[in-house]
């Protein structure tokens, strides 16, 4: 029984290199009673390489998809990919603001886009529409050994005037969701620091340095795993770890998971169902200790009982 329906735009990478992101998104949202409808005949979002060559064309490519959504009678489209999200939002906002630009873009399109669709990330609807409370209710499984550092990357909430979600310098959306599903979240200072992925081909040395810093900070924060919301972050930080280790003399072995994969684990899905086995760095050692959530609750209650007399005493002392 679906309580909510969303038009869901997967985008190119979630059909290929990041198919596990798509798998986990679908699993998690299904568990939460959300029905996802994929628009017919969706096409490239325009994020690359069009946007670095021709703004009108890039916006037209994005607007084509938004027009399809608009024609379906929906006012919201969701996507997991920050690049698609950014492309949609940029095209939408500029068309809405500049009548002349809108005309230019619509002149290219068969069906005009009338600026009636808001694009949101899966992260945003999980936090705002569904809410941490509902997200927490579906948890069945505890992950006692997992200590995650949420890494937001560069574009999910920047530039703030376009993305209009969360704090651009200290975002908390994933922290809140991870907290809601009972995972240990570490205070991570490099949440929005550049990992260098955009220069992955051109300037490998620089990327290695930047990514290495991010990974170092993960360990400094006391975490053993990165959770991400962007498949490019995931790919860069996961696949490159070997390269970094060999060039920088480090020995990182930090799994990089999509936040939906971690949520899926707490909802009781297997690592295979969530595509965790597709990653380069193996997460098995961190998640093999998973157990029914009731066990943790029991453990916590016992701890609290043992603590209580002490706490009471301390309180008395204070007064």
């Amino acid at each position: 029984m679906a309580e909510k329906e969303y038009i869901y735009f997967p985008g190119c990478s979630l059909e290929a290199s990041a198919i596990e992101y798509d798998m986990s998104v679908r699993k998690v949202l299904t568990s939460l009673g959300v029905k996802l409808i994929e628009p017919d005949d969706w096409s490239c979002c325009g994020s690359t390489p069009a946007h670095s060559v021709d703004h009108v064309f890039a916006a037209a490519v994005a607007a084509r998809n938004l027009a399809i959504v608009e024609k379906m009678g929906a006012s919201t489209v969701i996507t997991a990919c920050p690049a698609c999200l950014s492309a949609f939002k940029k095209a939408h906002l500029r068309m809405k603001k500049e009548e002349s630009f809108k005309k230019e873009v619509n002149a290219i399109l068969d069906e005009p886009y009338n600026c009636g669709v808001t694009a949101k990330s899966v992260l945003q609807i999980l936090l705002e529409d569904i809410g941490p409370k509902a997200v927490a209710e579906k948890v069945t499984t505890d992950l006692p050994d997992l200590k995650v550092a949420p890494y937001y990357g560069c574009i999910i909430n920047r530039p703030p005037e376009i993305m209009e979600f969360d704090d651009p310098e200290n975002p908390l959306a994933m922290d809140k969701l991870m907290g809601a599903v009972g995972v240990n979240v570490c205070d991570f200072a490099f949440k929005v620091e550049c990992c260098g992925a955009a220069f992955g081909v051109a300037k490998r040395k620089m990327v290695n340095e930047l990514s290495s810093k991010v990974l170092t900070m993960v360990l400094d924060a006391g975490a053993n795993c990165l959770v991400v919301t962007c498949q490019l972050c995931q790919q860069n930080l996961d696949l490159r770890q070997g390269q970094i280790n060999s060039t920088m003399g480090s020995s990182f072995n930090i799994p990089v998971l999509f936040f939906t994969q971690v949520m899926g684990l707490t909802y009781g899905y297997s690592p295979q169902e969530l595509g965790i086995d597709k990653h380069n760095v193996n997460a098995e050692s961190l998640i093999k200790s998973r157990r029914p959530v009731e066990e943790r609750i029991k453990e916590e209650q016992e701890k609290a009982k043992a603590k209580k007399p002490k706490a009471k005493k301390a309180e008395e002392e204070e007064s």
Binding site: E169, A189, E193
Partner: protein
Amino acid sequence: MRVGVFICHCGNNIAGTVDVAKVAEAARMMPGVAFATTYMYTCSEPGQEEIKEAIKREKLDRVVVAACSPRMHELTFRRTVEKAGLNRYFFEMANIREHCSWIGEDKELNTNKAIEAIKLAVEKAKQNKSLVASRFKINKRVLVIGGGVAGMQAALDCADGGLDVVLVEKSPSVGGMMARLDKTFPTVDCSICILGPKMVDVSQHEKINLYAYSEIEEIKGYVGNYQIKIRKKATYVDWSKCTGCGACIEKCPSRNAYDSFNFGVAPARAINIPFPQAIPKKAKIDAQFCRQFIKGKCGVCAKFCPVGAINYEMKDEIVTEDVGAIIVASGYGLIDLDKLPEYGGGRYPDVISGIQYERILNASGPTSGHIERPSDHTEPKTIVFVSCAGSRDKSIGIPYCSNFCCMYIAKQTILTKDHIPDSQSYVFYMDIRAPGKGYDEFTRRAQEEYGAKYIRGRVSRIYPKGKKMVVKGADTLLGTTVEIEADLVVLATAVTATPDARMLAEKLHISYDQNGFYVESHPKLRPVETNTSGVFLAGACQGPKDIPASVGQGSAAAAKVLSIFSKDTLESDPQIARVNTNVCVGCRKCIGTCPFGAIEEQQLRDGRIVANVIETVCAGCGICNSTCPCGAIQLQHFTDNQLLAEVNALCLT
């Protein structure tokens, strides 16, 4: 009617882009104009002489000067015509400089525009009526708002000049920001040591009535006669009994009050005295932290107070004071760290603001002058100072320079080295701004004698790494990025207007700029005056300012007040509303719309009710004039007929 028109060249300022000879020729053709001439500088003494002579020679009864803005010289020329025996309101000014020669590029168009401006002024002048100012007595008491160094200086100078002073300070003690500082630049003398005696003088001066922990509630009246309502905030301690012994503070069980004097460096007790040298040295309770108020039971301080001064039932009290002038010295504020998310936004305890560091350095501060990190109380060895933390940053709406940060950072690096000889200070800066006497030498000493390393560039991010804070920035001189692992980071947070600056300005009817700082009458020539007569400015409420500048302004404002109070009466402006009782139908609409309550009902002998303007209360805005349906109430010098003459001069062709 014989109008004389005097057209000023203003050197080349006007004559450069306006054909003044042609303008004079056109003016001579205007109906009513008996004489028109041009002069190089009409405002000069010979220029004014020429006007006086022409008035007598040509028997002029109206004078128009076409020159700069009337906001500049209207008063000058009014006096000139008055000296020649004309009523000063028979004078009109045409602005052909600011509104014409300086802004238009086409000489033909400018010339024509100047002619029209004169035509407008001539038509208005012909409608002008003789107006005579009446005199009224002034109340020679002065209100000083703000007990920082500027306000105290102003209060002391006024009091020494024989005036009664009402000094209102928002916080429980006078002293302001300067009382919080450790040392002052560039002399590195102890701040409280030089301020303390002034504070004592303020409290002991028989002419100064200090209201500490009080705010301005309402201001009514006009220059010479203001009625001020002051809200004395409830301290819950009877200050007539409190001896400042501190017994209550020692016993207070609520230990987590926010210490606004120390900018939150360490917690305070719910009942507190801000600092040892406080004037008055009296305790007050912060109700939002006090157990008695939160939980309804405690009463510890009341139990321990040896003189029974605690009174939990105390309420705010409103007192009224009548004064004749007001000096505003309400000071400045600082941005919160949460405006700087890239520097942690206040999340990291070892990233602090400059004023917090000042309190840490201060011997009477929460750490007794030992420099320690707020997180673990260890002594920092590497300290990074970031100047322009928010200042000169349009993206957060602070485009201006905060004026004194460069200097206090230099001072803080010197003090740091004095306290911890094996420490190393780094300073990230945009430009070193040290224009005062001995200032540049001082910043050089910080670098050359005290070894502070100055890095020219901005900081992009501050993040924790283990126990250290990593400061990542650019070194624009080397053209590279730098990262410094610091034990403590000090941000020179931007200076802002105080949060309630706008509210106070509205009460005072003075204007403020887009940043909330008060606007002076003239940026160069009237720096402590405002456009509201009787209200003067001193210190950082007008813009970020260091101590010597604030003290200078305090004295300047006091001198202005003493000068207007040197007479017993003031002239009232006759440009106020007047009622033609023959025409007034008694509809009372003017009474309801007057913002000053300056209009009252009056019953004539025939029983008719008409409006009556209270001369001393009317401020001359003319709202009543545009409200009155029958035109019975007319704002003198801006009457309907005067404005209609101007409209007609422009439109009827």
